[in-house]
């Protein structure tokens, strides 16, 4: 048994009391990277030297009787779309293959201040665009439960890092499901917080009105401990919320008697795999046995969430990614004239899916093409939000599947981008409305692949999500299953 098998709470306590050293945690994590990365391709780079230095300073602090923080010695994998000062941050793109940011993202700073140790940078779909981590310039991340399957995406490396025991927790980002969907595919717990709850300073922007950073770990309690560290206003991110941050970990201990669970008919209609449906229904019964009540709700516009998302997100992406023009960020293709330099640099250094989305966004925003589309999509987005507002008048939490299926085979959707986009069908609406959502394991398919349960709540009600998920995990052991390595 590895020291990293303990819960984050236990591990941080063991390190703080000197029973386990931070150096041992780093050793265990690096050993797992060595053992697993060749076959799974989870990490783009490791931070071994910096991690060992950090561990030594944490151990020295503890030896001197100082408080090393609530995450003392806990190794954490960070999605490689999040900036780490002086350490190459690629966003999964050839464009940033050699880019070393001059600063840390705010969340990296917060994790460091809490005693956590960044162990390496996890693989992702290029610029977080994808649902399978197949779009990474650095190769596909494989699912630790079956190497024939994808780990999900775009935070596929972050999910696989936790599932394969490389780190007890990781950081992902979620624009249309990119934390929740890979969490579901890899059998772990991952939360997309409310839009604005966690600072995005230092997250390489994909779609700024949708992007949110969040934690991924084995249990809801572990996620809650991380949420305590990550959340809160940041002067460097003017979209970060000024709302008070509750003690998420303490709130997990509350019961869920009389919690009103909304069941949305649209989430159980055609396209939902039968085994996924059965496991989700079983999980709802378990929540009821803990005292929750179920109420039928209607979210009539969620069926348009993916179409809306694939207008809004590419529009924002086409604008955000215009900064990669060969002038500032390491990569440049030589050309005689400036405009040719731009066009060559972007052609050579962006992958196929990124180009597809930039073009889709440019198309939707260009006068004379389809510019009414963006307005229409933004109005439908309002209707989706109104649906949520009406639902949360009646219920506290909306419960359903995270994804219609378990992890699909590598290459299965390679020729059909639209089929891939539909993997976001239950998750994208939360990003459009700004509400939080969590995915947690609730069973396995007959071929041994994990199934995820999604809970969504109103803005800033993450405590309720984490509490419900934690209480469920006190009654079930799906979250403690591990893949055979």
């Amino acid at each position: 048994m590895s020291v990293l098998d303990n819960s984050i709470e236990q591990l941080a306590q063991q390190v703080s009391s000197g029973d386990v050293s931070a150096a041992q945690c780093v050793d265990a994590s690096i050993a797992q990277i060595r053992a697993q990365n060749d076959s799974l391709n989870v990490m783009i780079s490791d931070c071994e030297d910096a991690a060992r230095e950090r561990a030594a300073s944490i151990d020295a602090k503890i030896a001197a009787g100082e408080n090393a923080g609530p995450l003392a010695g806990v190794p954490i994998a960070i999605k490689d779309g999040i900036c780490t000062a002086g350490h190459v941050t690629t966003a999964g793109s050839k464009m940033l293959e050699n880019f070393a940011p001059p600063y840390d993202a705010t969340i990296v700073q917060r994790l460091n201040d809490a005693g956590a140790i960044c162990i390496g940078k996890a693989n992702l779909d290029e610029f977080a665009m994808g649902s399978s981590t197949e779009n990474s310039f650095f190769g596909v991340t494989k699912n630790p439960w079956s190497t024939e399957c994808v780990a999900g995406g775009s935070s596929g490396g972050s999910a696989a890092a936790v599932a394969s025991g490389i780190a007890p927790a990781s950081i992902g980002s979620d624009t249309g499901g990119s934390i929740r969907q890979p969490a579901s595919f890899c059998g772990i717990t991952g939360i997309k917080p409310t839009y604005g709850r966690v600072s995005r300073f230092g997250l390489i922007a994909f779609a700024s009105s949708l992007d949110q950073i969040g934690p991924m770990a084995r249990s809801a309690k572990d996620c809650a401990i991380l949420m305590n560290v990550l959340s809160g206003h940041d002067v460097k991110d003017s979209t970060s919320a000024r709302n008070d941050v509750p003690d998420f970990a303490a709130d997990c201990e509350q019961d869920i008697k009389r919690l009103r669970l909304g069941i949305c008919r649209q989430h159980f209609e055609e396209g939902l795999n039968e085994e996924v449906k059965a496991s989700v229904e079983e999980a709802i019964k378990a929540l009821e046995s803990l005292g929750a009540e179920t109420v039928e709700i209607d979210l009539p516009h969620t069926k348009h969430a993916v179409a809306t998302y694939y207008v809004v997100a590419p529009c924002e992406a086409s604008s955000n990614l215009s900064r990669f023009d060969g002038v500032r960020y390491t990569s440049r293709e030589p050309a005689e004239k400036l405009i040719d330099m731009y066009s060559q640099t972007r052609k050579v250094n962006f992958g196929e899916e990124v180009i597809r989305r930039i073009l889709l966004g440019t198309y939707s925003l260009s006068s004379g093409y389809d510019h009414e589309l963006y307005k229409k999509a933004s109005q439908v987005r309002r209707l989706i939000k109104n649906d949520y507002d009406a639902a949360f008048e009646k219920v506290d939490v909306i419960v359903g599947p995270t994804v219609p299926t378990t992890a699909f085979k590598i290459g299965q959707h390679a020729q059909d981008p639209l089929a891939m986009y539909l993997a976001d069908i239950y998750t994208a609406s939360a990003n459009l409305a700004g509400v939080p959502g969590i995915s947690l394991p609730c069973g396995f398919s007959s071929d041994g692949m994990p199934i995820g349960l999604q809970l969504q709540s109103n803005m800033f009600w993450e405590s309720t999500l984490l509490k419900a998920a934690h209480q469920y995990q006190t009654q079930t052991d799906w979250h403690s299953k591990r893949p055979q390595s």
Partner: protein, 95 residues
């Protein structure tokens, strides 16, 4: 509704991405199926007066003290420049 009359090549030039004829044809056919899917939005009935929703921070106006604070060193920033003269980014001729 298909928008196949749209020239992928023209869009690509607006986005400053060079495409070969072959790539452009592929993008064009993918666009057709994606846009057909997206245009399901045409069927959504929008009640009168529905304001577009651009994101969850729409009601907040973030302000801060207008104070001078240290920023990054130029040298640090220029380390990532493909080409610079030590003070400015250097690019090929604009005209």
């Amino acid at each position: 509704m298909s928008q196949s009359h749209t020239s992928a090549q023209k869009i690509a030039s607006l986005a400053r991405i060079e495409l070969t004829d072959e790539e452009s044809a592929k993008v064009q056919s993918e666009f057709d199926s994606i846009l057909e899917y997206i245009h399901q939005l045409d069927e959504v009935e929008i009640p009168d007066g529905t304001e577009p929703f651009f994101g969850a921070t729409e009601s907040t106006n973030a302000v801060r003290e207008d104070a001078v604070v240290p920023s990054f060193d130029r040298e640090e920033i220029l380390k990532n420049a493909p080409d610079s003269d030590g003070e400015f980014y250097r690019v090929p001729p604009v005209l």
